[in-house]
């Protein structure tokens, strides 16, 4: 048996391979669940019911929103070959920054109620962006591997949030629970007359579309792609390597920070421990599943929103632990990777008799 590189990869072929591997991933996880004592058909039925009612769909969109934002953000990093695993940490920084602004506002410091929304938005994006610049600078100046640095910063960010929630930012009126004050309505994204989910959908839709345009029609989009494919050629081509890298990574972090804002202002209403069930990590898988192509990334993130919502249902219903969803996601990730292989290589079996004669 030998592997031979395919000469051309058609788009339709590419999509069908990905879908095929996805189905395989679901089958394997179903098998695992069955072995561990849960009914696989019941589990999958639950996932589908999340799409049936309007209320469910709304919940799916709400849950997907932070993932979409972070995943689109990650596309900027991954295109440049910067393996940013730090979306979770950048998301947390966004949450921290937004919470900080709200607390200041409540204490009387701030720009006023009307400007609260722009303030928190700017703060969360700035915080996320800056947090992501740290590993980028470390790579540029010291060649430090960004996989490890972004990961370490994730844990640092989560611990920082934990500290603040349990300590200086603990809500005195919160009955002793570790959580911050609630976010006022003026800090949420809202369009009068439109439901929350639709509002988010519009915001996210605009960002997705913009990103698509940037990738295809701007010099920055082109240069960042070249940077990711071949560093030498990009220098030869005159791409300003460092500044392009920093810009792209900053955008990734900013979008993740914005996702954090949505989590604390919209989804939960305050910051508390475990606010993010790993949205940042889900975003990584979603963006790779979508092949870094914004519309596809959008759709994969919705899939993950579905999985998360379904997971909640299952936990309430049949007491399936939440980590079950993580297993599915990990297998989806594996499926995505293996799909790459299937797309790129063709298996050739050397037939004996026509092959080398002994």
């Amino acid at each position: 048996m030998s592997f031979e590189r395919r000469a051309e990869i058609g788009t339709r072929f590419s999509i069908s391979v990905t879908l095929g591997m996805l189905i395989l991933a679901f089958l394997v996880s179903g098998l695992i669940f069955q072995l561990l004592g849960f009914s696989a058909p019941q589990i999958y039925r639950s996932f589908f019911t999340t799409l049936t009612s309007a209320i469910m769909l709304e919940e799916v969109f709400r849950r997907s929103t932070p993932i979409i934002l972070a995943a689109i953000g990650l596309c900027y990093s991954y295109r440049m070959g910067f393996w940013n695993i730090g979306a979770e940490g950048q998301l947390y920084l966004g949450m921290i920054a937004a919470t900080g602004v709200v607390i200041l506002q409540k204490a009387g410091i701030g720009l006023g109620e009307e400007l609260l929304l722009p303030a928190v938005a700017a703060a969360s994006m700035l915080a996320g962006g800056v947090w992501s610049l740290i590993p980028a600078l470390l790579r540029i100046k010291f060649g430090a591997n960004e996989i490890i640095t972004t990961l370490m910063l994730n844990y640092t960010a989560i611990l920082l949030a934990d500290y603040l929630i349990h300590g200086p930012w603990k809500d005195p009126a919160g009955y002793g629970f570790a959580q911050t004050v609630a976010f006022p309505a003026s800090s949420k994204f809202m369009i009068p007359g439109v439901s929350e989910a639709i509002t988010y959908l519009m915001i996210v839709g605009v960002i997705t579309a913009l990103t698509y345009l940037v990738f295809r029609f701007t010099v920055f989009g082109f240069e960042s792609r070249v940077l990711g494919l071949n560093i030498f050629a990009s220098r030869y081509a005159g791409v300003p390597t460092a500044s392009t890298l920093l810009r792209g990574v900053f955008i990734s972090g900013a979008l993740a920070g914005l996702a954090g804002l949505i989590v604390v202002s919209g989804l939960i209403g305050r910051m508390r421990p475990g606010a993010s069930p790993g949205y940042g990590y889900h975003a990584i898988i979603a963006s790779m599943l979508g092949g870094l192509y914004p519309p596809a990334v959008f759709m994969s993130s919705i899939l993950f929103g579905m999985l998360l919502t379904g997971g909640d249902l299952l936990q309430a219903g049949i007491q399936m632990p939440k980590s079950g969803v993580e297993i599915i996601m990990a297998l989806i990730f594996l499926a995505t990777i293996v799909a790459e292989f299937v797309k790129r290589y063709r298996i050739r079996v050397l037939r004996l008799g026509r092959g080398v004669v002994a």
Binding site: I148, L151, I337
Partner: protein
């Protein structure tokens, strides 16, 4: 020094070695793997699987079987990793992350009370299955090495630990010997430096890489087992706390040498030990999180330090991370 200072120093040292062993076993295994040219980011997930396995199997059959099963599970996950990265030549980093998430998810799932209960019953019906819900298992007993164990300060640390701690050191020395002093080690290192050369010299690249990954993963499984039954026998969901990733950076710090890994691992163990002492002395006892950040921050600083020290010329195995294909 006062008596109190003595006993604190003693406790810290003992903790350092105890905590460091987790890193030691895992990173020594990864040294082996990376020397063959494969980077295994799945350490974290494999550790978690090793931990949950040792939890359940200890309750069912005792410590020895538990350690062996953890190693077996680790080896199997390593086999998966090797298949994907060596035979299918997929990106080692992506595969490693996938295995980590799979391991973390699976172990979390298996650790949930209902599932754990069923699993324990399946493993050994004679054991009361509700034990699994207590999330606790008997700890490995300490082995006292005779009168040496009474030595002040270092006695508890060096001569009164459980068997896996001693095994860790022994493993490090053994692997160092194999890597640098034997014929097999030479072949393995050449696979990591220049697989094309090793191939034309007749070395079976695929076999070597498969074995290296499986050995490394099996050891990661054992490290997970140690984490649970040797160090902290309470099952919580985030038991591993990214120690697997820290072990990876330890390998770089140790310049891919198992002997240097001993020093590096105990150093990090020391940091971890301190982390629990400082709050107790009134340093923000209610909010220890800031101190808990230490290992992560130090890891980052370590990477910077390494880069500065070697002036950009990192002595990694030359073919690390690159899949090998004869026809490409």
């Amino acid at each position: 020094m006062t008596f109190e200072a003595f006993s604190i120093a003693e406790a810290i040292l003992a903790s350092a070695i105890s905590a460091g062993t987790i890193y030691l076993i895992a990173s020594v295994g990864e040294c082996f793997t990376e020397r063959a040219g494969v980077i295994n980011l799945g350490l974290e997930g494999i550790m978690a699987m090793g931990a949950i396995t040792s939890f359940l199997v200890t309750l069912a059959y005792g410590h020895l079987v538990a350690i062996l099963s953890a190693a077996l599970i680790g080896g199997l996950l390593g086999l998966l990793h090797a298949f994907l990265t060596v035979s299918l030549r997929l990106n080692q980093i992506a595969v490693g992350l996938a295995i980590t998430w799979l391991g973390l998810g699976l172990s979390g799932f298996m650790g949930a009370p209902e599932v754990a209960r069923d699993l324990l019953r399946a493993l050994n019906p004679n054991v009361p299955s509700h034990l699994a819900e207590l999330k606790q298992a008997p700890r490995l007993p300490d082995l006292r090495l005779g009168p040496l164990a009474e030595t002040p300060i270092i006695g508890r640390a060096f001569f009164s630990q459980n068997v896996l701690v001693y095994a860790g050191v022994a493993l490090a020395i053994l692997l160092w010997f194999v890597l640098f002093k034997t014929k097999w080690g030479l072949s393995l290192r050449s696979v990591g430096e220049n697989p094309a050369l090793a191939d034309s010299a007749g070395v079976n690249i695929y076999l070597v890489r498969y074995l290296a990954v499986m050995v490394g993963s099996a050891l990661a499984g054992v490290a997970g087992a140690y984490l649970y039954i040797g160090y902290q026998p309470f099952w919580v969901e985030d038991l591993t706390r990214s120690r697997g990733f820290i072990a990876l950076s330890l390998v770089i710090l140790a310049s891919w040498s198992p002997l240097r890994a001993i020093a590096a691992a105990y150093l990090f163990g020391g940091v971890e030990a301190l982390q629990f002492r400082i709050p107790l002395r009134g340093f923000g006892a209610e909010t220890p999180q800031l101190v808990m950040m230490l290992p992560y921050v130090i890891t980052i600083l370590t990477l910077i330090a390494i880069s500065l020290a070697s002036r950009g010329r990192i002595p990694a195995p030359a073919a690390l991370g690159k899949p090998y294909s004869r026809e490409e």
